[in-house]
Assembly symmetry: C2
Amino acid sequence: MEKRPLILVTNDDGITAPGIRWLVRTMAAIGDVVVVAPDSPQSGKGHAITIDNTLYAQLFKGAPEDGALVEYSCSGTPADCVKLALHELMDRKPDLVVSGINHGSNSSINVIYSGTMSAAIEAGLEGIPAIGFSLCDFSWDADFTSAAHYAGVLAQEALNQGIPNGVVLNVNIPRTHEIKGVRICRQARANWKEKFDKRKSPMGKEYYWLTGVFDLQDSGSDTDEWALAEGYVSVVPVHFDLTAHHAMAALTQWKLNG
Amino acid sequence: MEKRPLILVTNDDGITAPGIRWLVRTMAAIGDVVVVAPDSPQSGKGHAITIDNTLYAQLFKGAPEDGALVEYSCSGTPADCVKLALHELMDRKPDLVVSGINHGSNSSINVIYSGTMSAAIEAGLEGIPAIGFSLCDFSWDADFTSAAHYAGVLAQEALNQGIPNGVVLNVNIPRTHEIKGVRICRQARANWKEKFDKRKSPMGKEYYWLTGVFDLQDSGSDTDEWALAEGYVSVVPVHFDLTAHHAMAALTQWKLNG
């Protein structure tokens, strides 16, 4: 019998979130699972790391029935969790790192704000196959049945096929119960139209809440937003070489050395 | 006489950092300057945004001699500062957004952890020309003379030429006093080899400090790391479409819809 793969599971909603519990159970059916996940919600933390503060990690024994070999909760960000797992807590390099299942979409431009994806990218930087999973449903008691199914299919296929070096997968699962299948997509062009909700504290001090509306500026039928709207699981291969190669020629015309 | 350009200045080291004070003075010689910057250091915050907490902004009057029209300190991250500036605090869209000058390098893979660059990217998302500046010297009393000179040259040229849509510039200035000029570069392949410094608190609880060594895996002479090592200012055009287009074909071969 082949050796079971070693799988690291993390997320950004915190170790007790329903989404990660579904992911742990799904991965425990595929391989040996180690969990290192934040001890509190870290949504919107982007690729933050903790460089000016201490980090704590402690054994988490809250859900042995989910089937992980061992679980740790960590005081840091999702990227911290992966770093700590790979370089301190795990005995050997995992065969796969999965992050999620996030409560809420990380499609399109949301990838750059996403703690879920920053954890996957952190693993990708170390040359480990990695996938971030997000369900397009923010609610805490969302139904993860379909999302977990596709997480299992994609994780197994990533273990079978490998993921190209320098690439991690951003997987979003639509909220619908009638999923049509999986599409390989590009990231849709979009951003957030911000609106600040200005209020006054009981002490009379003005403060703001950040709110916004998602503004899709892309009508292509090869994007993640299109796929999700049509009821497909979207898979975007993401890389962390941010160089805009197409822009280099124009910049060499600038007068910078005069 | 032409209308003076409107320039938003921000950073991630906080509004009182020497690096931003140099940048404010440099930009005030080019245009009308508005400053919205964090009220405390935000290094390593990546593209974090504040979605589960309130944001404060207040007038900062600590350095009128630097020549800004108005300055605000903000309780949020660099990305929050840009959002708040563009959508709440400023009367009109700026012609240019500059971030920095960061105390420390943001070359190569550091771009994904960088609060400095997340501020620039946030502006780029809104279609505004934006540049992040970083000096390869972490010290608080670093000499910003050369860095400020090149920041001025690049900002002026960005105003003259425009920056291609969907692209922001990641500019790093070497520590040397004998800068050879400016190079347009690609992001070098590299990552951090982490090492956790494990300690025990006075109360007996174990904790960690994240430390690491930069590991350059790229010997190309067209990279930012090469340019900086040779004494050039590096300019990397950065985009925020993270799609790894080259990886899409291989992924379409995966068995995902069986």
